[in-house]
């Protein structure tokens, strides 16, 4: 197949932005591929998709893709996306974040976006480390691992991203890994289709920093670990709790129906409009009311 015939080609900014900045073998590109396949399958018009990201290796994804793309500040992508979605409800707003981006500096925005149930699709690329800044520990770094800022071993427990999302109020929560690329695109597709705050945790790895510091081998070795250490939800249910705790559980972990924020705010607008006609209101201005 010629390069230009590949599905992804139509969605990439091929003329300007390549090669990309990611290390050879990084998992972030696989998430990008999965996202493209999901969007292509749903058949979204490129004009109707906005990709918002924070800062980090993961946050660099939107620049390569031919959508409305907003590369924001570290941790705050969901807050920018909230304003954009409210202004342009017809846009499918997809937010790509790293684990540090989404859960450390952006943790507050993350739980509040979930609580508000605003119709955004949040993709958290969890490589358990701050990749871009060179391998410092993140809120998902496993206990006892070595990082650039935990040279004697890490003593903080990690956040479970999906469980946190469910507790905070997300309506759709799923997890897969970059080894399971096809499964990942199916989950992202479901998340985009869902109206409400949906989260997909894409478990990845950073062989350049975390892998090197913890002697975990090459990207291929780390990819194999994702395969060996993960199970589907169905398989996980057959495991003993201790066994299950050791595994990355893949699949749709949570899917509920709840009115989303925009639908509810529409009710606010209707109630407010019932009090006065908008044109009359503007004509009267600040002097003539109440």
């Amino acid at each position: 197949m010629a390069r230009s015939e590949h599905t992804a080609y139509a969605y990439l900014r091929t003329t300007k932005k390549f090669p990309n900045i990611w290390c050879a073998g990084c998992g972030i590109g696989i998430v990008m591929g999965a996202l493209i396949r999901a969007i292509d399958r749903i058949g979204l018009d490129k004009d109707d998709v906005a990709l918002v990201s924070g800062i980090g290796c993961s946050g660099r994804m939107p620049v390569y893709m031919d959508f409305n793309t907003l590369h924001t500040t570290h941790g705050r992508a969901l807050a920018f996306a909230t304003g954009l979605k409210l202004a342009q409800p017809k846009l499918h707003v997809i937010v790509v974040m790293g684990d540090g981006d989404a859960l450390a500096i952006g943790g507050n925005h993350f739980i509040h976006a979930a609580r508000r149930n605003i119709d955004l699709t949040a993709i958290v690329i969890n490589n358990s480390i701050y990749g871009m800044t060179g391998g410092q520990y993140s809120p998902t770094t496993p206990l006892e691992s070595r990082t650039a800022t935990a040279p004697y071993g890490h003593v903080e427990p990690p956040f479970p991203i999906c469980e946190l999302s469910i507790a905070a109020g997300a309506t759709f929560v799923a997890r897969s890994t970059v080894y399971h690329a096809i499964e990942l695109d199916k989950l992202i597709e479901k998340a985009i289709r869902k109206v409400g705050f949906s989260v997909v945790e894409a478990v990845s790895y950073c062989h350049t920093t975390y892998g090197r510091m913890n002697k975990l081998g090459s990207s291929v070795d780390m990819m194999r670990m994702l395969k060996d250490h993960s199970v589907t939800l169905a398989a996980a249910e057959k495991l003993m709790p201790e066994e299950r705790a050791m595994k990355i559980v893949r699949g749709v972990l949570h899917d509920v129906e709840k009115p989303d924020y925009i639908t509810l705010y529409q009710q606010v607008i209707e109630r407010a409009k019932a009090t006065i006609d908008g044109k009359e209101f503007l004509r009267a201005g600040p002097g003539g009311l109440e």
């Binding site: 620049v63 807050a79 909230t82 304003g83 846009l91 407010a272 600040p286």
Partner: protein, 373 residues
């Protein structure tokens, strides 16, 4: 024309509505909260959106997102929240996203004195975010000016694709005054420039005659990239010096080439003045009273009220300094804008009048300074 009693913060809200603001995101903080409360009530009547975010960082982020989506957006806060917003003020300057940030100042630093007036954020409004960047900062002295300058803030934001900061003194925000309501249809409103070039020709950060590139909203068929990184005319990150330098020059030019439009001030009795008071905000009202009293005693005192404090009106101040022997700069801080005046006219010509304890500067304090001038 109807006349009513209006509070300064309320007037800001009305000014925003008149200017076409249809998005407000904020976090409650004294002495700015009335703006949020007022807009939570009024904006939805027009189909506009009010949202209370989880903090001030998120509030300005949401405003920028909404502006990218095509809505005119505003947030309001006070010192502690203004400090939190600094990163995103820089983002808005870098990404050239129109938005209005209102800071109803309190006495700082830190939590300080929430209900006491202060003009302590003058330098923070100019330099609070990191890096060189242009910014416009407006400063009303009364309730009706709070309305007018809010409209102007939106107009400048849209016209120049820039964040605009509106600084209010607590006393102006909370004061109730006579307000002559202008018919809203007579208010001049400027909207950002759109484009009709084919999408493939559009350059979101390209050169234009005015140095302000057109800005279609996301979702309108123009797909482009916005980033806080230095970027090329297409919006893509760049490290090339031949792309970084033209960007820096253009964004400064877009403000500096339009100073006649942007610099707002009022001169009174300057022509024959021996001494000129340069003041802003509520302090300018004490200064006007002091000027009147001084002139009753045949002292040739003039007054310049600054409505635009950034960019600083350098040429006007230099011209005034050629007429007057002394310049008196009263401020509710320990001397912030006085630094600018001193830089332009020399320290020997400037008499500072300062207090930063949450009390206003009285006309008498200024009169005392005029005595010594």
């Amino acid at each position: 024309m109807t006349v009513r009693l209006m509070q300064g913060n309320e007037a800001v809200g009305w000014g925003a509505i008149a200017a076409g603001c249809r998005f407000y995101a904020g976090y409650p903080i004294t002495p700015s909260t009335e703006i949020a409360e007022m807009l939570s009530r009024e904006l939805p009547k027009l189909g506009g959106i009010f949202i209370q975010m989880e903090d001030e960082i998120a509030s300005l982020a949401a405003c920028i997102g909404a502006s990218v989506g095509g809505l005119k957006a505003m947030t309001a806060t006070s010192g502690p929240g203004f400090s939190l917003m600094q990163e995103h003020i820089g983002y808005a300057a870098m990404a050239e996203v129109p938005c209005v940030i209102v800071d109803v100042q309190r006495l700082g630093p830190s939590t300080g004195q929430p209900t006491s007036p202060s003009q302590g954020d003058v330098m923070q409004a100019r330099w609070g975010t990191h890096g060189d960047h242009p910014i416009i900062v407006l400063y009303p002295t009364s309730v009706s000016e709070a309305f007018d300058l809010t409209v102007t803030a939106f107009n400048f934001a849209e016209k120049y694709r820039t964040p605009v900061i509106l600084l209010l003194d607590e006393v102006v925000g909370h004061m109730r005054e006579r307000f002559e309501s202008p018919p809203l249809e007579e208010i001049q409103v400027i909207d950002r420039m759109g484009t009709d070039v084919p999408p493939e020709w559009y350059k979101p950060f390209g050169d234009t005659i005015s140095d302000v590139p057109p800005m279609p909203s996301f979702g309108s068929g123009y797909r482009y990239h916005i980033t806080g990184l230095y970027h090329d005319p297409m919006g893509y990150p760049t490290q090339r010096l031949d792309e970084i330098n033209p960007w820096i020059e253009r964004v400064h030019r877009k403000i500096n080439n339009h100073l006649e439009d942007i610099l707002l001030y009022r001169e009174e009795n300057v022509e024959d003045a021996n001494v000129v008071i340069v003041a802003y905000g509520a302090t300018a009202r004490s200064a006007r009273h002091a000027m009147k009293l001084a002139r009753q005693h045949r002292h040739h005192v003039g007054l310049v009220t600054l409505y635009t404090i950034w960019p600083f009106p350098e040429e006007m101040i230099q011209r005034v300094a050629r007429i007057a022997r002394r310049i008196v700069v009263p401020e509710m801080n320990l001397g912030q804008l006085a630094l600018e005046v001193e830089r332009l006219v020399g320290r020997h010509k400037v008499i500072r009048v300062n207090r930063a304890d949450g009390e206003m500067i009285s006309p008498q304090m200024i009169l005392d300074a005029l005595e010594g001038a």
